[in-house]
Symmetry: C2
Subunit: 233 residues, 2 copies
């Protein structure tokens, strides 16, 4: 089913099996390849990936540290199934951090970057017009990635934001499938551009908080079906 990670004979491009195993498992989990709650045993994973238990174990324990897997009552791990409250909390933290990030960014952004962001939104809008929701999703991701690029010299902050975003993304697979969410998202990005052009830090922070708050609503709705408001700030 899955191709083996380690081909012992080949001159591996000097990236260790340990790393590959970790990255692979993480990617699988983030893209929802395992059913949440499904039991993961070291040996079966080892067999499946064609490696020994050693790298698997290290990967699982590191993923536990990141909150992607949980130790099972009995033994082994399972990919964690977050409750509504937990997902909500992640969004809340994203709200705080990304809001702050935009506050910071607005003081340092250049014309070129603004243009680049415009172009991405335009592509997104075009995709929306022809109902290519997948593409909308892709361009939205590009939009955020571009913004994130502007805080690359704050690696810790960036790391937190990226991790939380990835973590949430696995629950959002089809959030934007709904036209509604796609529309809101694009509009949110337009508002962000406006705030950035105004160069108003407070406005930037507030707009970004609202934007993520909307994403939170869409995600929670698509997952649980109803909204229990929590307020932005």
């Amino acid at each position: 089913m899955k191709k083996p990670l380690a081909s012992k004979k080949s001159k591996n491009n000097s990236v260790s099996v340990r790393e590959k195993t970790y990255e692979f498992l993480k990617a699988q989990m983030l893209s929802g390849q395992f059913r949440p709650g499904e039991r993961l045993t070291e040996e079966s994973l080892a067999a499946e990936l064609g490696v020994s238990r050693t790298p698997i174990r290290e990967a699982l324990h590191k993923l536990e540290l990141e909150g992607l897997v949980r130790p099972l009552e009995t033994r082994g791990f399972c990919v964690s199934q977050d409750s509504r409250e937990e997902i909500d909390e992640i969004f809340e933290i994203r709200t705080i951090l990304e809001g702050y990030a935009l506050r910071y960014v607005c003081k340092n952004i250049g014309k070129d970057t603004l243009k680049k962001l415009d172009a991405i939104i335009e592509k997104s809008e075009k995709a929306y017009q022809v109902q290519k929701i997948d593409a909308v999703f892709k361009y939205n991701t590009q939009f955020h990635d571009t913004l994130h690029g502007l805080i690359s010299h704050k690696p810790r902050l960036l790391g937190l934001i990226v991790d939380l975003r990835q973590y949430i993304l696995r629950y959002r697979k089809d959030t934007l499938q709904h036209i509604h969410g796609a529309r809101r998202s694009i509009d949110g990005h337009l508002k962000i551009m406006m705030a950035l052009r105004l160069g108003d830090p407070d406005l930037c922070e507030r707009i970004m908080r609202e934007h993520i708050h909307e994403a939170r609503e869409d995600a929670l709705f698509s997952l649980f079906g109803k909204i229990k408001d929590g307020g932005v700030s």
Copy 2:
């Protein structure tokens, strides 16, 4: 020098050597028992702690994920020595998160907790009067811990705050040795109490940001000797 972690024959209190090793190394690093930059080899650590290389390796790799150790150019790891910019960034993130936390807390705090915080500050003040700076430090920690207790139902946020605080603390061993820092810190807590009693979320957030910003100044000054201002918000 150090007592062995694992006594193989004794009925270990059901906590694995793996965990103990990890916790032990982490505690050692956070309390500055290793010189930053000092090379850590698996074998020597294993010998020192009286365990095999296996739990050591897992611990080191988990600590790498947390940023407490860095892979060395050559081989092995060393405990990471953060640059001024890196420490600064940690403080910045604390500012954001703890500021937000106080904003949240002020809407949910009860009279009893306020009294408890008052009592801690009073003890801190008394200790200050008789120059027991260690005790001031201890009570200040209690103060923050008490506040943190109020967001225990937001475990991710709490976890981030606690981790960052611990991470920083290892650089702050003697920040409060200076009377100046101790005074500022107590005064900051008094301001926090005032903001909490007023129940004003915006004020709470601002006061906490300023408080941590002061701690940042004291820490950076004691470490590097000069302040390059970064602004609170």
